[in-house]
Symmetry: C2
């Protein structure tokens, strides 16, 4: 087996990423150091460089993993059917995804880390995820690009307000349903 070592290597990479996610969740997206990640996996900081080129490369891998998770969440959604129901489901799924891990959302949706730009591959994954979201909206007759942009703005806005201003409550969560109604009223699904 030539890839025994390669598999072990990949497993360690995932272990490092898991530690980084954990720390980011506890202390904020940028509130952790490589030495802390190293501690969590039983290494010294310089050893991490055998698995990632630098700290930004860890952020990049987290970015890709985050969009992968969002892609899976979107793929798990029913397409077609009653537009009202489908839009309600996709809005709720997106909102839940956003508030479930605010650090992840900052990484995926807000440009928060000073020098960081996702790599081409990671960016492609983000694009594919948004394409998939467009398909879901398209399946219930929401096709105009402007309508999709408005949709993302409304629901990132709701989720972001929820996280920033009422982290332990549901003040904006309760607005998901009325928002879908508002959206549907102004953007009646095309046949």
């Amino acid at each position: 087996m030539p890839d025994r070592r390669a598999r072990r290597h990949e497993a360690t990479r995932q272990e490092i990423l898991a530690a980084a996610w954990q720390l980011a969740g506890e202390r904020g997206l940028t509130g952790w150091s490589l030495r802390e990640v190293a501690d969590a996996v039983g290494m010294r900081a310089p050893s991490l460089y055998g698995y990632f080129e630098n700290k930004d490369a860890i952020y990049d891998a987290m970015f890709a993993q985050g969009y992968q998770q969002l892609l899976e969440a979107v793929d798990g959604l029913p397409t077609a059917g009653d537009p009202r129901t489908v839009l309600q489901d996709v809005a709720t799924a997106f909102f839940d995804f956003y508030v479930a891990d605010p650090a992840r959302s900052q990484l995926l949706f807000l440009r928060v880390i000073p020098g960081f730009t996702p790599s081409e591959g990671s960016y492609d994954l983000a694009e594919r995820t948004l394409d998939r979201l467009r398909e879901v909206l398209g399946s219930v007759g929401i096709n105009r690009p402007e309508a999709v942009d408005l949709w993302t703005a409304v629901f990132t806005g709701l989720a972001s307000q929820q996280v920033s201003n009422d982290p332990d409550g549901d003040r904006w969560a309760r607005l998901i349903e009325p928002s879908v109604e508002m959206f549907l009223a102004s953007e009646p699904p095309a046949a």
Copy 2:
């Protein structure tokens, strides 16, 4: 004159804040160091501690200044009159404020800096600014708390998407007007 010195001190404080704003605008909200700020005002980093308790205190002063600026922008708005026109104006003013300085917006509207929480005084100012916004919306018959929350979510969402995904264009700016229409259709102003 007992406060000659006090005035000079305050002037230096403002000079430091101006340098911090400049650097934050160029390199991102957290992309600058105290030594760079000190350089910009012709000092060494430790001397800044004569003016601010620590770096977070600089962020706090910037937070207060940012909300002060937003308060002035909101106060400059016409209240009462045709609801459609007023809402269009306030939406545009808020959107412009947000995109004019994305670093400022991250500081005011997103919890981005790992250990930072605004001081009580700064937070009060933020509250007063939002109260003022509520008054403006109330003046054209938007009074339900849920309607105000929805309003902030929609327009922070639009502006945030604009900044994150089309920083040099107007892809979401063009959606301000349709968004106001959408909002009005679902939230008809009370008499």
